[in-house]
């Protein structure tokens, strides 16, 4: 089994994801430049950062590079695809996930820890959580305000495709716990089949106790276990 961490100019936390997969979970993982091939991989992580300087819109240009066609093919084959932060922006811009990520309601870069409620444990990335569990991870973004129209929201909710919501420490999805103005406090969404997920919080920055939380590690563990099954 082999995973790819895709790098664009301006990616970050790519090394962190590589460290988690290869050093902590012992999975063969390559850092793959966006001009190279990913066809032989069993799963893909698109890390955070500021690909192409966030020019035009965050993720817009990376989403239209040829490697994203290869990511779509892997997703169609049912392989796991995880987009973190800028990776989430790239996935919505490429049409692999619905909605859009716009400027935070308080329009500045926001970097802090948030509480997340796990809404669906049926995805490739959330099987190692329990439903309704509250986990902690940091966010670090300026364009993380998730927007979708009412029809799309209805589909996301009724098909259990909201993976995470921003909540307070009691698990309530209140306005005060929403760091960026995302509609219905949505922090992460999944594809129809649950093998593609995008999330604004950074699980790779919360995967070892020394970092303040290792809740994020279970996302990568879930992904690896899922990849072993498909």
């Amino acid at each position: 089994m082999k995973f790819a961490v895709i790098r664009f100019g301006g990616s970050n936390c790519d090394m962190d994801v590589h460290h988690i997969l290869s050093d902590l979970l012992g999975v063969s993982t390559d850092l793959v430049w966006y001009k190279d091939s990913i066809k032989d991989y069993d799963g893909v992580v698109i890390p955070g950062g500021f690909s192409y300087g966030d020019y035009l819109r965050a993720g817009a240009i990376a989403a239209r590079t040829p490697i994203m066609n290869a990511v779509k093919r892997l997703a169609d084959e049912g392989k796991p695809v995880l987009g973190i932060c800028n990776g989430f922006q790239i996935l919505v811009e490429s049409g692999l996930l619905p909605g859009a990520l716009t400027t935070n309601v308080y329009p500045k870069f926001c970097c802090r820890w948030v509480n997340l409620r796990v809404e669906n444990t049926g995805t490739a990335f959330t099987s190692n959580f329990s439903e309704g569990e509250i986990v902690r991870m940091p966010i670090a973004h300026r364009e993380g305000n998730f927007f979708a129209d009412d029809a799309t929201l209805h589909i996301l909710n009724s098909h259990h495709r909201v993976a995470f919501r921003y909540v307070d420490s009691d698990g309530n999805a209140v306005a005060d716990a929403n760091p960026n103005g995302s509609v219905e406090n949505i922090a992460g969404v999944a594809s129809e089949r649950g093998n593609v997920i995008g999330m604004m919080p950074h699980p790779e920055r919360a995967s070892e106790p020394v970092l303040g939380s290792d809740d994020g590690l279970r996302i990568f563990e879930s992904m690896v276990e899922y990849a072993e099954r498909v």
């Binding site: 859009a100 716009t102 927007f147």
Partner: protein
């Protein structure tokens, strides 16, 4: 013969969508003593291209908007060709 055309594209958040940058500028203008009802921000792109005719240029620029320059989930756009 191909002619050089200039396309001016304005990309704006759809009506009713929150524009935090515009709202912040509104408040800053109020602090300076101006009375404004609202500020909406937009992005303007100026593209030069060669095309057979104005319609051809407009069609290609519209395709660029649909495929990349605007995000149909959140944006409206307008194109002016000269």
């Amino acid at each position: 013969m191909q002619m050089l055309y200039r396309a001016e594209i304005t990309i704006q958040l759809k009506d009713g969508m929150l524009d935090p940058e515009g709202d912040t500028i509104t408040r800053a203008l109020m602090h300076l003593g101006y009375t404004v009802t609202s500020v909406r921000t937009a992005k303007k792109l100026l593209i030069e291209l060669e095309a057979d005719c104005k319609e051809d240029a407009a069609e290609r620029v519209d395709e660029m908007c649909r495929r990349m320059l605007a995000n149909p989930v959140i944006h409206n756009y307008s194109i002016e060709i000269r």
